[in-house]
């Protein structure tokens, strides 16, 4: 176990709950019995001002949460979500063994889930002219529809490659699927 990991496990940073306005994500595994809860507080420009966690689980889970909550502070929700989308990067950095990668994944899942909660809220509260689908990359419904139509896209990942939508926290992916289905009719 490398020193960083050990240090973050033994002296976890940011244990607890973020202050309001707070968005919370959960993750758990019935396989290993671990449970994690991660909450972020955001300022008006969607930057993370605070991130905190609670968890019951192994060293890797706890250290990962401790590291992630440190790293996302000051980041935009999009960057935070992208960080959560790449557990393998963190796993490699921490030299985590293969059978423990899923614990890093759990921590990342909790982070992504917190950002998703924010995205869902932000999308619903959006009052712009065009409906906002992807809050992570600020992509409107019209833009996505145009991309689908013009380029004949058929899958979410094609859409993401074309205009980023769906490539952050992923909360908008079900909506993108709906737009794809509508375009087939």
């Amino acid at each position: 176990m490398i020193e960083t990991l050990k240090d973050h496990f033994l002296n976890p940073r940011n244990v607890g709950e973020a202050d309001e306005p707070r968005f919370t994500g959960r993750a758990g595994s019935f396989v290993c019995g671990a449970a994690a809860r991660l909450s972020v507080q955001l300022d008006e420009s969607h930057n993370v001002t605070e991130a905190r966690f609670k968890a019951a689980g192994c060293e890797v889970l706890i250290a990962s949460l401790s590291i992630l909550t440190e790293r996302v502070r000051g980041k935009t929700t999009t960057d935070a979500a992208l960080m959560g989308q790449h557990p393998e990067t963190l796993a490699v950095e921490l030299s985590v063994e293969k059978d423990k990668v899923h614990c890093v994944q759990l921590a990342c899942d909790a982070l992504v889930a917190a950002i998703c909660e924010y995205s869902d809220v932000a999308r619903n509260e959006w009052i712009g002219e065009e409906a906002l689908i992807c809050t992570c990359f600020f992509v409107s419904e019209q833009t996505i529809e145009r991309e689908i139509r013009d380029k004949g896209l058929t899958t979410v990942s094609e859409v993401t490659r074309a205009c980023n939508a769906g490539g952050g926290c992923g909360s908008c992916q079900p909506l993108i699927v709906e737009l794809l289905e509508a375009s087939w009719d």
Binding site: V31, C32, A35, A36, A56, G57
Partner: protein, 384 residues
């Protein structure tokens, strides 16, 4: 280093090391060879056999066959019995066996055997009435452990043997791996046909075990080849290890007082249960019904792996459930069978005291543990 993981493995005793040492240096040879070196090795093996036989109260040293580990002994016992009775397709075992029995029985199910899995109550105890009802005309084998590796709960081997004999023609195999060296055993006066033990649980080195095969019980070889062990187990005998096992059995017999170990365990168990509010004992409270050295304790809302890692950081070695689980992450089947709630089972730690622990070590543990638990409870998403 405070080692409270003696059910996982034990340190080689200095007496054992001393006995083995010549067999790793000046003495060598194949005990099957008829020349002087071989004969010397053979004598050493036969002396060890006598020691093993006396520790477990076998009627005859010939009933002891050396193997490489407890798992081999268990696998051999089960497979061997079934090979001699191809027409009987029913096996009785329990839900709380070690994997060396459990996984063989799972495999048997895949091969078409009918396996009755006896359950346990919240204390980890069997219902002997359930056993009685499970026995059938086509029951080939009953395989029930003597002491549970996680909770230390003891099963009534003598009574079980009696029931098996009375009610069936089944062969009775006992996984005695955790019990040998910790509680008195006298096989010759029990209706036990096969009994597995493993050296490294009683201060012999890893890599040697034995199977007791009661005289008259037919058991084809598991490993075929040369005529070692009167044709019952092929492979050149592991003389240094066997000598070590003999010495360990002799040590356990002569210096087998568990009063100190038991008092240390009690001190630890009482200290934890009284001092830590979310701590719960797994297994029957009555200590006469458990091994003298084992305490399995669940800490609610907390994860066992992180307790283990924090203790490790303080130089204290323990297990979560059974050590053998530690690289998989599935919840312990033993605790599940005992109906320990999930939120508790996840936070279970096995403390197993041994010959070389001291009161001071227990005190240190009792000082360190509560702080770790309260820190983890604070961090828990489920505790309030």
């Amino acid at each position: 280093m405070i080692y409270l993981d003696n059910n996982a493995t034990t340190a080689v005793a200095p007496e054992v090391y001393e006995a083995m040492q010549p067999y790793l240096s000046k003495y060598f040879g194949n005990p099957s060879s008829p020349h002087a070196l071989g004969r010397h090795m053979k004598h050493a093996v036969e002396d060890a056999r006598i020691e093993v036989a006396s520790l477990i109260g076998a009627a005859d040293p010939k009933e002891i066959v050396f193997t490489s580990c407890g798992s081999e002994s268990d696998n051999w016992a089960i497979r061997g019995v079934l090979a001699t009775r191809p027409d009987k397709k029913h096996v009785v075992t329990t839900l709380v066996e070690h994997e060396a029995v459990r996984n063989v029985c799972h495999q048997l199910e895949k091969e078409g055997y009918d396996v009755t899995w006896l359950g346990v109550d919240g204390n980890g105890e069997l219902d002997l009435e359930e056993l009685r009802n499970a026995l059938r005309a086509d029951t080939a084998l009953v395989s029930i452990m003597l002491a549970n590796n996680e909770t230390g709960v003891l099963f009534p081997m003598r009574e079980i043997g009696h029931i098996v004999r009375e009610r069936s023609g089944a062969v009775f195999h006992v996984d005695g791996v955790q019990a040998v060296g910790k509680v008195p055993i006298e096989l010759k006066s029990c209706n036990v046909d096969l009994f597995a033990l493993s050296g490294h649980k009683l201060h012999a080195p890893q890599g040697v075990g034995a199977l007791y095969v009661r005289s008259g019980v037919e058991l084809p070889s598991f490993i075929l080849g040369g005529k070692q062990e009167e044709g019952r187990r092929a492979g050149t005998l592991a003389v240094p290890n066997i000598v070590g096992l003999g010495a360990a059995c002799s040590l356990a017999r002569i210096d087998g007082d568990h009063t100190l170990i038991e008092s240390l365990r009690n001190q630890l168990e009482d200290g934890i249960l009284e001092g830590i509010s979310n701590a719960h004992l797994n297994g029957i409270a009555d200590r006469t019904k458990r091994l003298p050295n084992t305490s399995s304790i669940s800490f609610e809302h907390v994860d066992g792996q992180s307790i283990l890692a924090h203790l490790d950081d303080k130089g204290i070695c323990v297990s979560t459930g059974s050590a053998c689980h530690s690289s998989s992450h599935t919840a312990s089947p033993t605790l599940k069978a005992m109906n320990v709630p999930y939120s508790m089972a996840q936070g279970s730690i096995r403390f197993s005291v041994g010959r070389y622990n001291t009161e001071e070590e227990i005190e240190t543990t009792l000082d360190v543990l509560p702080k770790i638990i309260s820190k983890l409870v604070e961090m828990s998403p489920t505790a309030k």
